[in-house]
Amino acid sequence: MEPAKKELIKEIKDLFEDYEEAYVPGEWEAFSKTKSKKRVLFPQWLKIAAVLLMIAGALPFAVNEFFKDNQSGETAGLKKNAVNKAEDKMLPAPLNASGAVAEEKSAAVAEINPAVTGISKKISISEGTVQNRTGQKEQMFAEQAAIPVQSGVKTIDVIAATSAHTSNAIQNEEIMKASANVAAAEANTVPPKQEQSTMDFLLSEAKSGRKADVKKKVKTDKWNFGLEVMPTVMKSNVNVGAGITTAYRLSKSFSISSGISMVKLESGAVLSQQSLNSQAAPNNHVSFASQSSRTLVSVDANISAIDIPIGIVYNVSRNFYTSVGISYFNILRDKRSNTYETTSSFYRMDTDPSTGFSETYQAVKSEAIAEPAVEAPMKGNSYIGFFNLSVGRDQRIFKQYHIMVEPFIKIPVGKLSSEDLNLMNSGVKFRLSF
């Protein structure tokens, strides 16, 4: 008897149900090679943890260095000013002294800037005084000297004096004129009131330096850093996360807070009966008699992610605050396990005891199978994942530490909210800030 011909599509279905190719020798060897190449030295989570640790470790130093640099830079600047001013003040002295002791035979002005020349002309009135002073000291020797003088803003004049014995007043006058010119030029750049001693000056600068330090310290108080742990409660599980936080004070009442934390969310979802029916319906419709139907009953997910929140904090009072914000959520690991309900129908022959006739019954067998799901639909996704709301109490301990207890709620938005898992969670953040 010729077997009944089946419909093409049914035939194709049967053909491919258990279709398999013959194994090609060498495939496993090739695969092993590729596999060993692809094997990574450290898993991704370990690398991220290492980076986080490094950041957490380096942050206090970096912050210290940053403020230290600013302070020392400022002090250095102040010191430089002090030196310049001291130079300004002290420079004429040796020149005067050299002028006073100079009884050189000849003096030559190697390079005289027109500006200096101009200045020397202007101050020619003081010449007489200088001459008087120089006139008191005669017949003295001076070593050959070259004195670089910084004049005013732009030029360097070099006055070269050769050592010689002199008795010529005119020559002395010339030298003194030159010296006086330079001195006058220097005097011109120095404010006339700088009559205080170097010590006084340094003391006053040190005071102003301290003032600058105080100002800076006030600035550093705008930032604060902290560590936090946050037990969270989801619909069915309790999870724990931890991280570092930072906040910048915008005004007395408002501040911006951010941070980075590692969170682990374990969630289970039982799919509704309605959706089960709708999923199962087409299968049953097509192949109720001989084929089995397979429906997804529940999904268990285990998600590890990095949560980077940013929010605005409003200080309601000294000890209480409230915060709203959003979270950038990067999922590192998304491990799922699906539980399927397999329903298969089969025929059963039975004899009816009352009539003696054998009857065929159609029976349905159903079993639940849990499988780890390979797909990680959310892995690697980076998007704004949560809307955060919290209120908190801030308690100051010791001098600079604060302990904060902050109940919060995280509401999934964007793509997270469209997943079949309910990732809404809430908990309490315990934060230590400094």
Binding site: L15, D18, W28, K38, S287, K335, P372
Partner: protein
Amino acid sequence: MGNKSILFQEIITGLDARDERIQEGIYKHYWGYLMGVATRYIKDRNISREVVNDSFMKAFKTMYDFRHDHDLVTFEKTFKSWLATITVRTSLDRIRAQKSTLVLVEEYEEGPVSYVEAEDKLYAEDIMKLLHELPDLHRTVFNLYEIEGYSHDEIASLIHIPVSSSRTYLTRAKHKLRELYKNSIEIN
């Protein structure tokens, strides 16, 4: 106890002990089956091989958490179907990666053909050729629904299309297959 049963017993023991040595046995046993799955979705044989290897890679990572009740028959069935699921999803990912989205490449008129009987014994190679004449999207929906047994809802969420489109593509794919099959018989 047959060879197969010994293999599955070894696999179960290996999974429990998280023994990596069972991977070779699993690979060699299921390679042909998974190649059969992958080639239904992807025409290029080399890409299919890559897909199968990627699937094994994924499976070997997670299989040690595979929950089972130590019953050989059930295990054989569920483990095989789990591997097939991985391969199907990896194939879909590969198709998606090659094209930005899984789109309908060509449209064709729906023919009047609604019922065709298979004349003789069907050969997988021949049907595979016919399948690859279908547009990617139609072939994918056909495979997912008819052979893998997914529902239209599941297909819709898997390949990001509306449920109604899934139904339409399936009907079109079937029509086209029947048509192609009839033509191939007439030529021969």
